[in-house]
Amino acid sequence: MVHVAHALAVLCYAGAAALAAAPFARPMAAPLRGVLALLAGGVGAHVAALGAVGLSQGQVPLTGLGPALSFAGMVLALNLLVVEAAAREVTMTLAAAPLAALCTAAALAIGFRPVLTAQGARAVWLDSHIALSFLGIGALATAAAAGAMYLVERRELKARRFGAILRFFPPLETLDRVNHVAAVTGWLVLTLGVVLAVTYSAEYEAVEAHKLVWALAAWLGASALAIGRLLGWWRARRAALLSGMTFVAVVVLYVALRVVAAERGQFL
C-alpha cells in the first residue's frame, strides 16, 4: 500500500507537470482543472501513503531520510496545489511538480525506515520542529520556483519574444508577489522551526554540529532574503536571483553535510 500510493503520487505529480507543459507544445487553453485534479490526486495518495507509514511505525513519518523526503515532497505538492488554485494558473507546476516527484521517488527508492522514536511531549516537540522546518524549506522552494519563472519571463519580455511563455506564464508582478509572500512566510515558519530545534536541543542535550550548521545557514539565507524583501532592498530580478541562489545553497549544503559529516540515516 505504502509503495503503491507513493508511486501513484509520483505519477500524478509527473502527469501534472506534463499536462502543464502541454500548452507549450501546441496552442491550447491552460489545462487548469486537469492539473489541479492531478495534483489533488497526488497529494491525496501521498497523504494516504504517509498515514500508512505512520500507522505501521507508530510515529509521525518525519525522521529518517526516506520519510523526510516523502514529507517534503508532499508539503511542496500541497503548497503548489494551494498556490495554483488561488492564482488560477498552472505554470508554477512546471517548476515545482517535478521537484515534488523527485523527492517522492527518491523516498520510494531509499525506503521508509524511521530513525528516532521519541515518545510523548518530546515526540510532539520534535515532530513540530521537523514539520515547521519542512514547511519553511517548502516555502523557500516556492519562492525559488517563482523567481526562476520570473527570470525566464523577464528575459523573454526583454528580448521581445512573444511565444508560449508570454501566453501562459503569469504576469511578472504576480510572480514577484508570490516570491515575496513565499520568502517572508518561509522565513517566519523556518524561524519558528529553528527556535523549536534550539529549545529542544537545550532541553534534551541533543546538539549535533552538522545539523546546527545547516539550520543556521538555511535560516540566515532565508532571513537575508525575507528581510531584504521587507525593507525593499531587493525586489524583482534581484529578489528572484537571490531566492534561487538561497534555495540552491541550502540544498547543496545539506547534501555536502550528509556526505562529509552526517552518519547515514541520522540526519533527516
Partner: protein
C-alpha cells in the same frame, strides 16, 4: 422546407460594394418582411460592416433569388458576382462559424457574437421555429468556441497588443497610471484600450498644450507642456509615446534619472519614426515595445488562433448535427400529416367505390364499411407513425421521412410507376439538403 443563406462578405465583396449592401435595423426588418411576403416562411437579415446575409426558410429553396434581387437592387447592378449561396447543413454551419468569429476579418473577434444576437433579436418578427433555433444554436456554439478553445485569446490589434503586454508585466491594470507623450490618433487609440482595462491616464504631455488639454480632458488627466513632464515619470507605470518628432525624444537620461525603486516601467512607442531610443532597453526595469513588437504580438496571437480552428470546427460540426437532428424531427411532422391525408383520400375513394358496387345499403351497413375501412387504415398507419416519431426523436427522422415519402408515394417524381400518374414536384424535399447533398454556390 429548405434552409438557405444568401449573402456577401469581406471574402467576396470589396468595401464599396459591402457599403451598398449594408442595412440598418429598420431596413433589415423591411427586407425580411418583403421576403416573407414574397413566399419565404422565415427570414432574418444579418448586416454588419463586413457582411450582409439573408437567412431564409422556404418550401422549395427558391427564395434565394428574391434575396439576390434585393442585393442587386441596392447595388444597382447584378450582385451575383459578389454573393454566395449556401444551403442545408452548410447554411447552418456557416452561421455557426460566423457567430464564433471564424469567418471574421480578424479571426476570433468577439464583436460578431453580439451582432448576430442583435440581428436575431431585431428580426424575430419574421423568424419562426427553424431560424429561432438556428440562431440560438449559433450563439450557444459561439460561446462554447470562445470558452473551450483559445480562438478568442490574445491580442488581435495593435492597441490590444499594447494592453496585453502591459498586463503581462503588471497583471491587473486597474489603478495603474499612464503618461502620454504626444496627442496623436495612435496614442488616443492605445490610451482608450488601456483605459478600458482600468489604467488611469494621469498626464498628457505635448508641445502644443491645447492638443494635450483636448486629449487630457477626455480621460480625466492633467495636460502639461513637454518640458514639465519628466519630473512625473517616477509616478507612472506605463509611458505611451506618440509624438510626430523626427528623432527619438526619450532616451536613457530621462528614464535613468526617474527614481522608480526598481518598479517596472512599460514603454509603448507607437510613433513613426520612433520616439524612444532603443538603448533604454538596457535599463533594468524598463520594457520597451515599438510598433513592430506590437505587430509581432498580434501575429503570434493570430497564429495561435489559427491553430485552434480544428478544435472549433469539431464543436461546430457537433452542433450542426444536433441542430439538423432537431430539424429532422420537425420535418417528420409534415410527412406524417401528408401520409395520413393521402391514406384518408384513398380510403374515401375506395369506400365510395365499394358502396357503389354494393348497391342499396342501409345506414348501418354503410357505417360498418366506413368503420372497417377507417380501422384498417388506422391499424396500417399506427406502426409507421410511431416508428417515424421515434426515429425523429433519435435523430434519424430525415432518413425515415425520406423513406416514408418514397414508400407512400408522396414524392411522385421518385415513384413514376406507381400508377398515380406523374406529377410535378411541389417542393424540394428536406432530405435532399439534409443528407449532405446541399449545393454550395459561390459567385466570386
Amino acid at each position: 422546407m429548405a434552409l438557405t443563406v444568401v449573402g456577401a462578405s469581406h471574402h467576396t465583396a470589396p468595401l464599396d460594394v459591402r457599403e451598398r449592401f449594408a442595412h440598418d435595423i429598420r431596413g433589415a426588418l423591411d427586407a425580411a418582411a418583403a421576403l416573407v411576403r414574397a413566399g419565404a416562411r422565415e427570414a432574418v437579415l444579418l448586416s454588419t460592416c463586413n457582411r450582409t446575409e439573408f437567412y431564409l426558410v422556404d418550401e422549395e429553396g427558391t427564395r434565394a433569388a428574391d434575396a439576390l434581387a434585393v442585393l442587386s437592387t441596392r447595388l444597382g447592378a447584378d450582385a451575383s458576382s459578389y454573393t454566395y449561396v449556401r444551403r442545408g447543413q452548410e447554411a447552418a454551419a456557416h452561421l455557426f462559424r460566423v457567430a464564433a468569429g471564424m469567418d471574421s476579418m480578424v479571426l476570433g473577434e468577439a464583436q460578431i457574437h453580439g451582432q448576430v444576437r442583435d440581428a436575431w433579436e431585431h428580426g424575430r418578427a419574421h423568424a419562426g421555429p427553424v431560424l429561432n433555433r438556428l440562431f440560438q444554436s449559433a450563439l450557444l456554439v459561439a460561446g462554447r468556441v470562445r470558452s473551450e478553445t483559445a480562438l478568442g485569446r490574445g491580442a488581435a490589434s495593435v492597441s490590444s497588443a499594447a494592453v496585453q503586454l502591459a498586463k503581462q508585466i503588471f497583471g491587473s491594470l486597474v489603478g495603474r497610471r499612464a503618461m502620454v507623450l504626444g496627442a496623436g490618433e495612435m496614442a488616443e487609440l492605445a490610451l482608450e484600450s488601456l483605459a478600458s482595462e482600468g489604467v488611469r491616464a494621469s498626464i498628457v504631455a505635448n508641445r502644443s498644450l491645447e492638443r494635450a488639454q483636448a486629449l487630457a480632458s477626455r480621460f480625466g488627466a492633467v495636460a502639461v507642456h513637454w518640458d514639465e513632464c519628466w519630473s512625473s515619470l517616477p509616478l507612472v507605470d506605463v509611458l505611451l509615446c506618440s509624438t510626430s518628432a523626427p528623432h527619438p525624444v526619450v532616451g536613457v537620461p530621462q528614464l535613468a534619472l526617474a527614481a522608480r525603486g526598481g518598479r517596472p516601467l512599460c514603454v509603448l512607442d507607437v510613433a513613426l519614426p520612433r520616439d524612444v531610443d532603443p538603448a533604454v532597453r538596457e535599463l533594468e526595469a524598463v520594457y520597451l515595445y515599438d510598433l513592430d513588437d506590437l505587430q509581432a504580438v498580434v501575429g503570434a496571437s493570430l497564429e495561435a488562433r489559427r491553430a485552434e480552428l480544428p478544435s472549433a470546427e469539431q464543436l461546430i460540426g457537433g452542433e450542426v448535427r444536433r441542430y439538423w437532428d432537431w430539424l429532422a424531427g420537425l420535418a417528420a411532422v409534415p410527412v406524417l400529416t401528408e401520409v395520413r391525408a393521402e391514406a384518408e383520400r384513398l380510403r374515401q375513394r375506395e369506400v365510395a367505390e365499394a358502396l357503389r358496387r354494393l348497391g342499396p345499403a342501409t345506414a348501418e351497413q354503410r357505417a360498418a364499411v366506413e368503420q372497417l375501412s377507417r380501422a384498417l387504415m388506422n391499424k396500417f398507419l399506427h406502426a409507421p407513425s410511431v416508428r417515424l416519431r421515434a426515429a425523429a426523436a433519435e435523430g434519424r427522422g430525415l432518413a425515415m421521412a425520406e423513406a416514408a415519402r418514397y414508400l407512400f408515394a408522396l414524392d411522385r417524381e421518385a415513384a413514376p410507376d406507381d400508377g398515380a400518374g406523374a406529377r410535378a414536384p411541389e417542393h424540394v424535399p428536406v432530405p435532399t439538403h439534409a443528407s449532405g447533398l446541399a449545393h454550395d454556390e459561390e459567385h466570386e
